[in-house]
Structures are given as C-alpha cells and as structure tokens.
Subunit: 386 residues, 4 copies
C-alpha cells in the first residue's frame, strides 16, 4: 500500500497532528527521534515569541507498539502550549465571546482569499489552519519517513544559501561538511561569514518591524536510480517533489538541480555525461540535473533549491482594508517570526522525505521492513549485473 | 466528480492519446479548436525534422456527441505519421528484427535511469514514452479544459521571456499586448527585438549541433478567488500547479509570482497590499504573489514562470557509455529540436488549464454546464455582498 | 474538494480516532450529536464485557470552532478506557514485558493472515487494529456526515431483519414506523415478536459460548436523483457503497434493493416502472432497484441489505494451531460480544452516510454550507422543469 | 506504482477502449490472448442481435512493443462494428439529424436518472455509456491482469450457479472439473442437466419478450495470503473486490464465501479452523470465509458470488412516461439480450483479476516482471519459515 499522509490542527487549537499510513511494520519509531526533528524546526535565529511558548514534543497515539511500527496508521500529536491561553477563543464548543473578530486581512496571507472561499466573517477561521505551525505535523511525519529511508542509507538534509540580500559562498565549503556546518549555524548556513551577516541582517529587519525571506537547498543522498516514473505526468518524481515542497507555507519557487540557471545554458554544457568503471558502475562527474532525469532518480543525489518569501505577518503592518467598514486600515498585527527560512528548510526535508519514502514504497512494496529490504537488495543486485 | 486525465502512447507508436473525464456535459467540443492548440504546440522556430513529418490533428474517439461533451470519458487520438515509417520497430506484435538496439544512453534523458528501473535492454523501450511527443496528448486535453474555462471568462496564456542568454524586455510592452505579440513571434516572445536575437541564437546553436533552453511565463486571467485550499498540503493550488508544470519534459524550475526574487526581498515590499472601492470590490495594485495566497487563488491573475533546460538530444552528442560493451562512446544521436521552449510554453498552458479546470470542478461541482454556471454565479454573487 | 476519511487507533491503545476533511465550513458540529451516535453503536443486546468498560464520547481536536466546521480537517478522538488497563501491553515505548505473546490465531479473524503479511510474531500486533472497535471512529465521522446530509433532508437509518435463524416480519410493519420501532428494540429489530426471539436466541448462544450473525437493512431517504455516475466503474454509487459497507468488520454480503432475489426474477417483474403526475413529477410505485439505477441514485430511497457473520471470537474457541510449537490447540480466547449485529447496523449507517456525503460534495461542490445549499437548490429547481 | 484502469467509449460510438497502467515491464501481452477473453464475453446462450454484428478483437495502441509490456500505459481499442451503421447518430461532429430523440426512459436503466443528472434531452446521451458494452474494455484490461497473475500461478475463473428459477447442483461436481465443464456449457454452467434447463428457460423467456437474471461464482485460486490490508477501510481486499464487482452493469449483490448464509449460522460453524502439517504449512479444511479474513487474503481460494438482475431492456417494454409529453407510454424498445449472466461472469473475472493484480502490485512492487518475481519469491520463502 502506498504511504499516505494528512495533517490536521489549528495553530492555537489543542494540537497539531499528523496521520501517516503505509509505513512498513517493524520500523523502529521513537518519540525522541521525532522530537529531535521538531526541535530542529523550532530553532533558527529570527524566530518569534511563539517559539518561546512552545517546546514541541510528540505523543504517538496509534500505530506504534513497543517502539515498532505496526503497519497501521500512525497518529502523532503535538500539543499547542498556547492552547492553554486560547481555550475560549478556539473552543470547539459554542462560547459567549465579546464578538471581537479579525477584520483587517494581512496581504500575503490566506486571510482574504480564505474568507471569501469559506464564507466566514472572522478570518481567524482561516489563519488558524493556514499558519505554518501546521508544519509541525509534517515534520513529525517526515521524521518517521527519514527513519525508514535511513535503513536504505538514504539521507535527507538541508542548508540555507541566502537570507535577504546575503548569499552564502557554498562552493568554498567541502561537500561533506555542508550539513555539519549548517547544523552548527544559528541560521543553518554552512558559510560562517555569511551566517553572521545573515544574523545581523535579521536583527536589523526585526528592529524595523520587517521580515526576511531566503533560499535553501534540500539534498537527498544515496537514493537508488529508478524512483518515480517517466510513464505518466503524475508519477514523475520531480513533479511530486515540487508539489510537496511548493505546498510549504511561503515557498514560491522550486528548482531541480541547476533550476533557473538552465535557461541560459547551451545543451552541450547542461547535462551530466555518463561514465563507467567496474568499481562504481555507471557514474557522473557532474550533477546539473539534480539527480532526476526523465522524472526518475538517476542515482546521483537529488538536489532541490527552494525560495521563500518574507513572512507576511509584519510588526509594522501593510496597508489593508477593514472587511466590515471597508475603510483603509493597516493589516492585523499578528505575532510572528522575523525570518523562518531555517525552519522552512527543516520542513522541506520532511516533505521531501515523505515523497521519497512514498516512491520507495510504491517501487519496492513490502509490508514489513524485512520484506522491503529483500526487495531493495534484489533490485540493487540486478543493477550490478548491468 | 473531479476531472481526471491520463495520457498514453509512444513517440513512434501508432498514436499519442489522452483520456479526460469529469468534463461537464454540454460543453461544446470541436476537433478544430483542439487542432488549433495542437498546431500552436508544433510551431516555434527551432523545431526539428519530426515536426515536418507530423501535422497533428485529433480524432475524438469517445465522450463527445454532436459536438457536445456527454460527461463520459473523452478519448482523443493524435496519430503519429511517423508510425508508418516505424511499424516493425514499434509493433505491438513480435517481429523478426535484426536485433539492433539502442546502446548509448543520452545524458539528460530518461534513457539510463529507465533502463535500470524497468530492466529492459534496449532503451528505445524507455525513450519512446519519455519523449516530449507525449505532450500532444496533454495539449489536446488542455484544449478541452481551456474551452471549459472560457465559459467562465478564464484565459490561460503564455509568452517566452528568455532563450539561452537572450532575455526579453517585458516591462516595455503593454500588458494587454503581451499575448497577441507572442502569438505573432516565431519564438512566442512579445519583444520583437529579443525575438530576432533569439532566432539568430537558435540558428547558431543549430549550426554547432547544440541546443537551447529558456524561460516562459504562464498567465491565467480572470480566475475567481478561492480555487485550491489552505487546509491540506495536497490541496494547495500553487503546489498542484507546480506538480503539473514540473511534470513537463525538461522543465526544471517553477516560480509563482516573483518566485526566486522573493528570497532577496524584505517583507515590507514582498506582498500585495489590499485596497477597496465600491466598483471593483477588494483589489490589489501589485501582483507579487502571482495570484495565489495561502494555496488559494486570490482573484489576481495567476502568474507562473518556468525554466526549461536545453534539449539533451544533441546533433553533436555528449559522452556516454555503451551499455553492452561498457566502453566510452558518444551518446546515441537522435533527431531532435534545437529549441523547444515555445512549444513547452503551449504545453504549460494546457497543464495549467487542466489544474485550474480540476480546481473549478472540485469547488463548484456541476455535471452539466448549466449546473456549473449556476453554482459559479451564486458564488460570485455572494462575494459581491462582502 | 472531495470528502476524505481515515481512521486510526488500536483497540486497547490510547484511542480510536477519525480524520475527516472536506466538510463544508459552517456546518454545525456538536460533540453531543456525535456522542449520541457513539452510544447507539455501543448498545444492543448481546454486547460483551468491553462495552461495560467503555462509555464512548468524542473529543474534537481540530477543524471545529465554536460548534462550526472550519472546512479544515476534523480530528475526532475517542478515548479507550481500557487503555488504562493496558498501558504496558500497548505502550508506544519499548517496555520490559515477560514476553508473553498471542500464539493461537483465531479462525475467522485477521490474526493468521496478518501475522504472515506483516511479519510479526505476536498477533496482538494485528488484532488490535483489525478489531471492530475501529468502527467507533467511523461512527464519529459518520455522525458529522449525517449532520451534513440532514441539511438537505437526507436521512440514513437502519433496522435488523435477522439474527441467527430468527427472521423479522418486516412487511407487517408500517414503513414510517420501522426506525422508531427499531430504536426501541434492544436488538434494533422493528418486529417486536422477532425481537424477543432474537434476545432469547442470543442468551442461549451466549450460554453455550457461541456467537451469532444476522442481517440488516440500511435505508437512505430523500436522496435526490443523480448522485454517483454511470460513466466510470469507480464512480458508481452502488459500487462505492458496497466497498464502504463490505469494509465493515464481519460483513460478508451486500445487496442493493432486491439483491440476491433478483437472480430468480424475470425482467418483466424486476424493475420499477416509471409514472408521472404534476405534483410528484416522475415517480415509482416500487423500489426493487433499491434506489440506484445505472450507478446513480434515482430519487427513490436507497436500500441496502448487509449480512454479517457470527463473531469469530468465541468463548468456546475453535481449533487452531500454536504458531510457535505448531501443535494443534484451541484458539486464543478473547473477550467478545455474543452478537454485534445491532452495532454493525449503526456502523453501516455511518459508512453509508460518508459515501452519500462524499457523492453530494462531488456533485454540488461548495466550500461552505451556504454555497452548497445554493447549488443543491438550483439543481432541484432544474429537475422541476423537466 | 499502483495499477490504474479507466475505460471509455460509447456503445454505438467508434470503439470501446481501456487504458491500464502500472503493468510491470516485460509481461508478455498478445492480442490473441485478449481476444480469447473478448470472445468468452460474447458467448453465452441468450445473447441478442448485437453479438451477431460484433466480433470483438483488440488493437493495442500503446504500451506494448514486440509483445512485451513497456511499463507505460496500455491502451486497448475494441472497434464497434455497429458504429458503421450509426455514424451520423453518434458523430462527434455536429450533424443535421431529423431531431428524433429517445423520449421513453426504460425502468431499471440509467436513462431517467442520467437524464436528470446530466441535463440532457435525449437519453441516448446516457445509455450509450451506461450500456454493458463498456465491459468489453474491462475484459480487455482484465485479460492483461490475468496474464500477470498467471505468472504467479493465480487463476481467476467463474461458473454460473443459477439462471432465473433454475439452480445448478454444484456440490455433485468435482471441484477440479467446475471450470472445464462451465467452459463447455452454452450458459457457462458446470451442471449439464441444469444447463439444459437454463437454455430452455431462456428460450421461453425470449419468446415472451422477457429477460432473465442469475447468479455466478468467481473463484481466484492460488492467491498467496496477505493481499489487501486490515489497517484501513479502503484497503480491505473484500471491500475493493465488492466495489469492482458491484460496478458491473446489473450486478445487485456481492457475497464473499458463505455470504448471505452467514446470517443464519452460529459462530461455532461459521469459521475455518486452522490446521498445520509440515508439508502444507498452515491450512484449512473448509473455506466458509471465501478466502478473505480481516480484509486480507488468507491463502485459501477467494470465492465470491454475484447476483444479477434481469436485463431491463425488454422486447415487451415496461410502463414508462414520455419525457416531453409526460404521457404514460411503454419504454423505448432497445435491442438486447435475453440473458447475459454468462457474459457477466466473464466480466466479473476481469474485474476481479484487476483488483487482485492491483493488490499484488501494491504489496510486492516491481517495475519489471523479474523484480516482481523476486519480491514474491522472497515473501513466499519467508512464509515457509513460519
């Protein structure tokens, strides 16, 4: 069965939750491993007050027994500490409130479009679900997927390459140090000098009530060739990864490999020539394609760059209109981060891990880890005979 | 019922086909309208010999009676003229061939990954389906979707902004002339000067046996607010459009609105402030978001930029390895285009039209045009009361 | 967006949960209404010890604010009281148990097949999810769907027609009394005499350590014509209802209208002739088809009969084999009901309500109740002009 | 990737088609094998005039090269000979007809419900797709699935057990002769005496302008344990098979194993006790469950009984109403079969084969036959160690 995943929960409701099913039985699932990913998501210089309230940890409500996946749906529950402050506001039960509603939609958010679509008066009914707090659920589900991938040696990692106008100098850093250095940086940027500039930029933006966007890379290493398929538009791995990554709040561009740079390159220098030796088998010396050719993984690392817009919840709000009075007013001020690019990169790892795990399950089947392992081994053995 | 679409067919097989279902009954469907889109896909300076063999036209095999959709699955069949030259090679029946197979996979194509995944010896078994000729099917299905959208005033259009190193100067062209000018240009570029430079660039590249990529914009006008949804990762309109567009052969980047430019922008200048007057209702003076906020259309035009890599079938082939002998050899030379960016833009219109039609059907339902119209009217009337 | 529903949770785990999405915003959702359905599921003469431990009630964890659906995923949580007695046994965390595992699979249950499929040693890993306690989640989701249907006057109801060898005399009961009488009966059977015989039969079976199956009818009233579709195999309403109902634990037959009786009937007496008068429009005097023709609702009530096998958890267990020793042994004795047919009928109402709600949403769209209402009204108005 | 299948085509349109994807590369696909199944569908005493016009054979339009599946979508095209007689009537192009439309909907058919749903005037627009001629597509796709299953020794077969009031005496026939005897019978009934009575019954019904229904069994042999899953309602194998079989035109009841008989049986005699010996491993001496426990195949043959209503196209039509005049009239007389139960059984084999193939692919993965085989072998080897 394919892997399916849904999230649920409002930002100031009781909890953010994820349900994931199709995880092979026998996979080791520990709350601590998931919590470690949740903690990575909460970090990053530039996060706002909410992250001071929350210290996310997961409660596994189903699908895991004695630290092993049962093969049944896994529900992960991340409590919103802020719920304690918001109970009447967000109660599932009818409550006698003073009738205060949010009336000044924030440009760049789901507020206005959602209010129109769903016919609600108070755009809190929209923003509570549109909020990027939802991504706690995706990170929890992604952590389980990462665990599954790790059995096959597949790693999903990320690093920041740009925040606002500051770009990192990635080429000067040894490839095998990129992630360890990113993990050490308060903004997940492996370039130490750029890292410091980014922090100072965030400080300045914060002081002005402004926010910042940026750019990051997600890298999936040790993926076998053959995930995804060229045979149908909705089976292509790059297309599925794009959906998954573009669905992350505030992501506005997804690039595979050289991405937008391809537009300017001639064909003679756009592709990854093919080589062979008896030890490595077929191999490439370049990876412009970002590990995907014809909608399939080609055995090189998958590399994707995502661009994120600056968070639209500004301490110094933008011009808007009061929904009721129709008068021009500044948008609702809502507590927010100055820069969430480092967090978004961690979310993107989770989203990518989910898609790779799904593609893996579809290709290899296997209701338990043992069966899946055998199926993968047989495939790899066949490839060696090529 | 939601709209579903699959394509089928090999590049040199009997035909390329598309099946689309969920189109409301009563929609006017004429082969000529579809053929006009197929012709737009075939045009473009830089296309190769294949386009001289083919003059695509559709045969509607099912789902349409007396020029009206029945509500049942519509199968569209586009014959491959080249099939007549390839019958033994591509026969569904066992044939006594001399055993010649394709042995030198082309970097940048599905050839090698597909050969590994599907366990085939002759990578013709892969390239025949991976070929962008498949997009004739998507264009046919997209033409039907465009027809549906046109009932609601929704237009899906495209123009080229870059080919190789040549960029168009889009800002100097009046917005309402962009598409008429693009249609007149042999490379679908509204900037006449750039257009000529592009043509000369293509000529030069062709002379060297090289190929070119580029960049184009897809614009969807007159979309009502509220398509897509912020409530679940796989319902977001931007994410679905990204999957659809990234699934087009050789597309390597998808940007919504300002796209990659967002990374460098502060929040204070990243969003589209909200205004109101009694005539227009709520409106924006900018469209940095590209018409989508929180995974929903916001009423502004949807604008997406796609980057395409140069075609990997080169007249002067890249280095590769012979699958059988494992010796270093140049890749298989395969007849191809020098530049297919203009064609890809037309395909992208079709892919986008499909996603918008799908989102429309999911939001408004309607098994016949009359019912769908009433549902849309009632919605628009409600929005006016806001 | 279509309505999606997944359940999660193990029988003695922390909770049974359901996630349902696509419910239009603005629908009134009260925990009490859901609890009333959960209580109906728990009732029924013949239920076992577990139902004495549990008094199910729902906690709505997401998707509802101030008693109104937000349009976002609704998570419903039903706590397992028995969890308190089973914490170490079912803990998601590794626990030092004595290593006792379930070794004697029960014929008629998922135990043995599941153990093979999922490669587990202890078939508790299977039975915990296979248990019909899962249906608490479906009943909770179904209660929300019933609420949605009620807005359009659609009712989903059930009554028992057979338990073991005792058949009810349904024809002698006025149609409009069937459900009120069923609700009064401890076995949900509207025929009072049969009802008493059923109870006495259950008593006897229980005393012998045996169990009982039976048969019930689900009736969906006031459905408009046109749900489902004849155009594709997987869109047919009868087929979807069959999947949904057959997926309920222990259901082994689904009949639409006359069902198995059709086999013996000539065509001249198998169908529902069509009549017309200006007041009713088109109507029928019979309903042999059970309200579905050509995979679509035809405006008559939908009537489905389900047959349920006797519960395979017997106080006097059947012959089995010890998984470890391979010796012939009696199956594991597991606490269970003597007869759960009345409960299964309530679950079937929920399953049917889900499918009808899903078909309704697909046909009419509507992100909020107001929009959906208008779409339905316009459709009904059009039908009146026929 | 999972196996997907859609059909298309109108009864008197150009063709009936099926598209199936996800079939592993390398599977041998011959048109003759498919044609043999199409011929089985056309046979059966009681078929009408249409079957004299048509001699169905398939053209494989895509997805197969040199008699081997490519792993890409397979389109199968079955030409409607009757199309030659119906071109203006069914033309996809606007045609100047005399305006004759079908006005008298047939009870028991999609005619009236479809006309309402799709807002059409002429119910030919509905019946053309609702017609059971569509099943030619399913049989073609099912033939490919059967080919895939045969590699793993899995057989899908059927036999008729009842036509009208005549029931076969199945118990007196050796199990291994059931299908060979069914194949020899003009009504696919293995009981020769009953077979003759059925034929004579059909003769009589035909003479009276009446039609007949019946009952048949589909049996799937040599299925490994573990297809389907108990973990989620929509993954259960029995539920999926029910959807697939109930979606066949005129099928009104689906029973798994003992089916409706279970209602009357005590638990002590309802299940299949478990035995073991070192040669067979775990085994059963009975198969009341029909090969499915807990939504999973259990290693016993899967046995399903379907009941079919008599065809509602009667030579002596039923009472109906003229759609335009609203006057009571006899329903439209449409050429039809007297009894199509034998044909429906062949269609049911195809529908079941599709679901089993789909479940197999989901469990074992495998993009080519070689990979799938290894995955199945490893699983079977693991089961032997139990």
């Amino acid at each position: 069965m394919t892997i399916r995943m849904l999230t649920a929960g409002e930002s100031h409701g009781r909890a953010i939750m994820a349900i994931i099913e199709g995880i092979p039985a026998g996979l080791v699932v520990n709350a601590e491993d998931i919590d470690a990913e949740l903690a990575r998501r909460q970090k990053g210089y530039g996060r706002g007050a909410r992250m001071k309230i929350e210290t996310d940890f997961v409660r596994i409500l189903s699908g895991v027994r004695h630290a092993r996946a049962l093969g049944s749906p896994i529900v992960m529950y991340v409590h919103n500490m802020d719920w304690n402050n918001c109970k009447p506001l967000m109660s599932p039960v009818s409550v006698d409130l003073d009738g205060t509603i949010l009336e000044k939609p924030r440009p760049g958010h789901a507020d206005l479009a959602g209010l129109m679509k769903y016919g609600v008066k108070d755009f809190r009914d929209i923003l509570e679900r549109a909020s990027a707090r939802e991504t706690a659920g995706r990170v929890a589900a992604g952590a389980v997927c990462k665990e599954l991938l790790s059995i096959f040696g597949i790693l999903v990692q990320s690093y920041i390459v740009q925040i606002g106008g500051v770009c990192a100098d990635i080429k000067s850093i040894p490839k095998d140090k990129l992630f360890s250095k990113a993990e050490e940086s308060p903004v997940r940027c492996p370039d130490k000098v750029a890292s410091e500039k980014m922090i100072s930029l965030i400080k300045k933006a914060g002081a002005k009530g402004d926010t910042l966007g940026g750019k990051f890379v997600v890298k999936i290493s040790n993926v076998m060739a053959g995930l995804g398929s060229h045979t149908q538009w909705d089976l292509k791995l790059d297309a599925r990864l794009s959906q998954s990554l573009m669905s992350i709040q505030a992501i506005k561009a997804v690039e595979i490999g050289e991405g937008v740079n391809f537009a300017a390159l001639n064909g003679s220098i756009s592709h990854d020539e093919i080589f062979y030796n008896s030890k490595k088998g077929f191999f490439r010396n370049t990876n412009r394609a970002g590990g995907i050719e014809g909608g399939m993984s080609n055995g090189s690392p998958i590399e994707i760059t995502c661009s994120m817009k600056a968070i639209p919840s500004l301490a110094k709000p933008l011009r808007s209109v009061n929904i009721i009075s129709k008068k021009a007013q500044r948008a609702q001020a809502v507590r927010s981060d100055v820069c969430a690019v480092p967090a978004a990169a961690v979310v993107a790892e989770a989203a990518a891990a989910f898609e790779i795990a799904r593609a893996l399950k579809e290709k290899f089947g296997g209701d338990c880890i043992e069966d899946m392992k055998k199926s993968v081994q047989a495939y790899k053995a066949r490839l060696k005979t090529l």
